[in-house]
């Protein structure tokens, strides 16, 4: 948090959108801003009410270059936006550099992601040095539909405002059908079983013959976070590595090792990598493949080092699999790559896709 600033003294805050960027439809801007506030209201008692005709606590504007706050913007790229800590007047206000290209997607800079960061400042959070935190100072695109406020930010904002008081609802899996279309966050084998992670739960396929079980992640591994992003098994060490943000946890059977979580940078990733989308260990080559955006890294488990300082394009190394991989695992010598509701069976020796399946093909419907 900002030194000497304990945040707003009230919990009912107002905001006003002073002007719009021409890059996006006004309704898209409204939606991005509203959702960015919701990121913070979901975990605190704070409420945000939009007003139109008077000065709000948080004034939101788009401006280029010099814009009357002694901190001129710098043209395209570089500084994207800035915001002021809670206070009267300019305090709390958020300014977005109009020289950037703002979008609701992945081209240019996603307004929702940047606004959620800036409103963290507006509420009293300083920058975080945790690369997986929203309050980390550099921009990194993640799919907005997959966004979950990282733990570091939750701890920060709740240190100022406390947690949101909500009725206690017992956390039980909602028991969705395994036959409806499912997208998985991560898939891994574990001592002969296959685990399919999605949100706070996982499906457990014990054998080809059995019906899949559905459990909360926390029921099995209390130390693991929800919404994990990648996982793989390295059988030589009887370990499963689970990834979220810039951290990973090591599971030995049903125990999380005491030295978890660890930093992904210890594996050799550059600091520009802030999350791993998918991971799989290939028993045939002894290599582990880490998928980040449209590229993948090859990791030598024996040497405990990346094979190259630069990653390969997925479309070049794994033809037919698509440009992104969201989950992956290996079974019976074949690699399986998940993208949305699809799954690609890949023969590494032949270097080609041998089958395209539904993502839930392993869960007996």
């Amino acid at each position: 948090i900002f030194p000497g600033n304990s945040g707003w003294k009230k919990s009912e805050l107002t905001y006003r959108i002073v002007n719009y960027t021409p890059d996006m439809a006004a309704a898209e801007v409204d939606a991005a801003i509203q959702r960015a506030f919701q990121v913070w209201s979901d975990v605190t008692p704070l409420t945000f009410t939009r007003i139109y005709n008077s000065v709000a606590d948080i004034e939101i504007s788009f401006a280029a270059q010099v814009h009357n706050d002694f901190y001129p913007f710098d043209g395209p790229h570089g500084t994207l936006a800035h915001a002021f800590a809670p206070n009267n007047g300019i305090g709390g206000d958020a300014h977005f550099d109009e020289d950037e290209t703002w979008t609701s997607g992945s081209r240019g800079y996603n307004l929702f992601l940047v606004a959620a960061h800036e409103f963290g400042h507006s509420l009293g959070l300083f920058h975080s040095s945790d690369p997986s935190a929203l309050m980390y100072p550099t921009y990194h695109f993640i799919e907005p539909s997959e966004f979950h406020l990282p733990d570091d930010d939750v701890r920060g904002i709740q240190s100022l405002y406390g947690a949101r008081e909500v009725p206690v609802v017992p956390e039980q899996p909602s028991n969705p059908s395994s036959c409806q279309p499912i997208t998985f966050d991560a898939v891994t084998t574990l001592r002969g079983e296959i685990l399919f992670f999605t949100n706070k739960t996982f499906w457990r396929q014990i054998s080809q013959e059995s019906q899949a079980e559905h459990h909360l992640i926390k029921t099995f591994w209390d130390a693991l976070p929800n919404h994990i992003q990648a996982a793989y098994e390295y059988q030589d060490k009887d370990q499963v590595l689970v990834f979220k943000g810039a951290k990973y946890w090591v599971i030995n059977g049903y125990e999380v090792t005491k030295d978890s979580p660890k930093s992904i940078y210890d594996l050799g990733f550059p600091r520009t990598v802030r999350r791993v989308d998918a991971a799989v260990h290939d028993e045939n080559t002894g290599k582990t493949y880490f998928f980040v955006g449209d590229k993948f890294w090859s990791f030598d488990e024996k040497k405990q080092a990346m094979d190259s300082v630069t990653p390969k394009k997925i479309i070049d190394g794994l033809p037919g699999v698509g440009s992104k991989v969201h989950a992956a695992f290996q079974k019976n010598g074949l690699l399986y790559f998940f993208d949305g509701h699809r799954q690609y069976e890949f023969n590494a020796a032949k270097k080609r896709v041998t089958r395209v399946l539904k993502s839930n093909s392993w869960l007996k419907c």
């Binding site: 570089g78 500084t79 994207l80 600091r271 520009t272």
Partner: protein, 83 residues
């Protein structure tokens, strides 16, 4: 890879100086300062920046540091000083 030219080094140094002014409160009075003093100030600010981002703290503009400096980011500056 092409070898780094003296011109590249000069451009990197200028870029880094601007970056440190914007985000690490590097003070310059607009007049070229003595080489030693200016160099040590900049080096100290580079160290602060490297430490924050978890980079190797060298005080030098190595490739990792330059890569981090080129990433798009939030332009937050110390509001206390502004007040």
């Amino acid at each position: 890879f092409p070898a780094e030219t003296p011109q590249d080094s000069e451009e990197n140094a200028k870029f880094a100086e601007e970056y440190l002014k914007n985000y690490y409160n590097l003070k310059t009075d607009g007049v070229r300062q003595g080489r030693k003093k200016s160099g040590s100030q900049i080096s100290e600010k580079i160290r602060q920046m490297q430490d924050f981002f978890g980079l190797e703290v060298t005080g030098r503009l190595d490739s990792d540091t330059m890569e981090m400096m080129h990433q798009p980011r939030c332009g937050f500056v110390d509001v206390g000083e502004y007040n």
